[in-house]
């Protein structure tokens, strides 16, 4: 507070005094009790809003869980069926005779063109 006095001349002191009057907080205790009550009431309202939000969420929780369980079951069944189909197709494919000799049919194609031609000539005899 000392630097206020140092920096101000007498005119400024008067200005500061007037500033204090202009910005004076209400002095009445009843006012502060009222403000305190308003502040606390806002906190309560805010807490009530938060609680009701949770309650709303809670209300939707059970149907949401049931729906999620149904979706999960449906997805599991679909995946199981798809897996079964793939297995069946693989089994069928293994039993079906190929139009080519077995060695040629199952041999990997990652061989040189020359070697493939040689093998074809050997098997076609």
């Amino acid at each position: 507070m000392n630097d206020i006095i140092r920096l101000h001349d007498e005119g400024d002191e008067e200005v500061t005094r007037t500033l204090r009057k202009v910005y004076a907080a209400p002095g009445d205790d009843a006012y502060w009790r009222g403000l305190e009550a308003r502040i606390l009431s806002r906190l309560t309202e805010s807490a009530a809003v938060t609680v009701s939000w949770w309650e709303e969420l809670d209300r939707w929780m059970r149907p949401a869980l049931v729906a999620a369980a149904i979706v999960l079951l449906a997805v599991s069944v679909a995946m199981f069926r798809s897996h079964q189909n793939a297995q069946h197709m693989a089994y069928e494919a293994m039993l079906t005779p190929t139009p080519y000799p077995v060695e040629t049919a199952v041999r990997p194609v990652l061989q040189g063109h020359r070697e493939a031609t040689f093998r074809y000539l050997m098997t076609s005899r």
């Binding site: 400024d12 008067e14 007037t18 500033l19 009057k21 910005y23 305190e36 606390l40 806002r42």
Partner: protein, 183 residues
């Protein structure tokens, strides 16, 4: 000693409030609402806006209470929150006034007891200062906050608060002198 005792009880209230005691938070409101009002009043243009900013500030503080470290001074933390709420209110008012009510900016003080000449002239002169200059001069000269405290509250460096204060005083002197010479 009295200050230490207050600080200890304040710390107890803070810890209890953090644990969910509404009564402890009510005690903190009782302890700090006057100072919080003074901080808000320095930043906004009317008593009603200061009340709104104080309520917003306490609401934000209540929500952020679990993040507050109880070994720090609660008042300084709260004042920063209230100052932010007040600055936010000023920004919102500016947007609203620019859109709807351009004339309301010119008469910010609605104090019914505003009768004496200097008070009238001072109120008028204050409207010519920037928001920040007005806040700094009020927080320093009226409320007695240091430049450092003002800087933290308004989110500006201490040196800026110091120079704002200097410019605000110079501007007030000039404006009041001009008004005197006009009358």
């Amino acid at each position: 000693m009295v200050g230490d005792a207050n600080r200890t009880s304040e710390r107890d209230y803070v810890i209890a409030a953090q644990k969910g005691s509404d009564a402890a938070f009510a005690a903190l409101v009782r302890l700090h609402q006057r100072r919080a009002y003074a901080v808000a009043r320095a930043i906004v243009l009317s008593h009603e806006d200061a009340e709104d900013a104080v309520q917003d500030g306490f609401l934000h503080a209540f929500r952020a209470l679990d993040r507050f470290r109880s070994d720090q001074p609660f008042g300084a933390w709260l004042n920063r929150i209230v100052a932010n709420a007040a600055l936010d209110l000023v920004r919102r008012r500016k947007v609203r006034d620019a859109d709807e009510l351009p004339d309301t900016v010119a008469m910010p003080f609605r104090d019914p007891g505003e009768s004496d000449e200097l008070r009238r002239r001072l109120s008028q002169a204050l409207t010519h200062l920037s928001d920040r200059q007005r806040s700094v001069i009020v927080l320093h000269d009226v409320e007695g906050f240091t430049h450092g405290e003002i800087g933290k509250m308004l989110g500006i460096p201490e040196g800026t608060a110091r120079s704002d204060l200097h410019h605000a005083r110079a501007a007030l002197r000039r404006l009041l002198k001009d008004m005197r010479s006009e009358t």
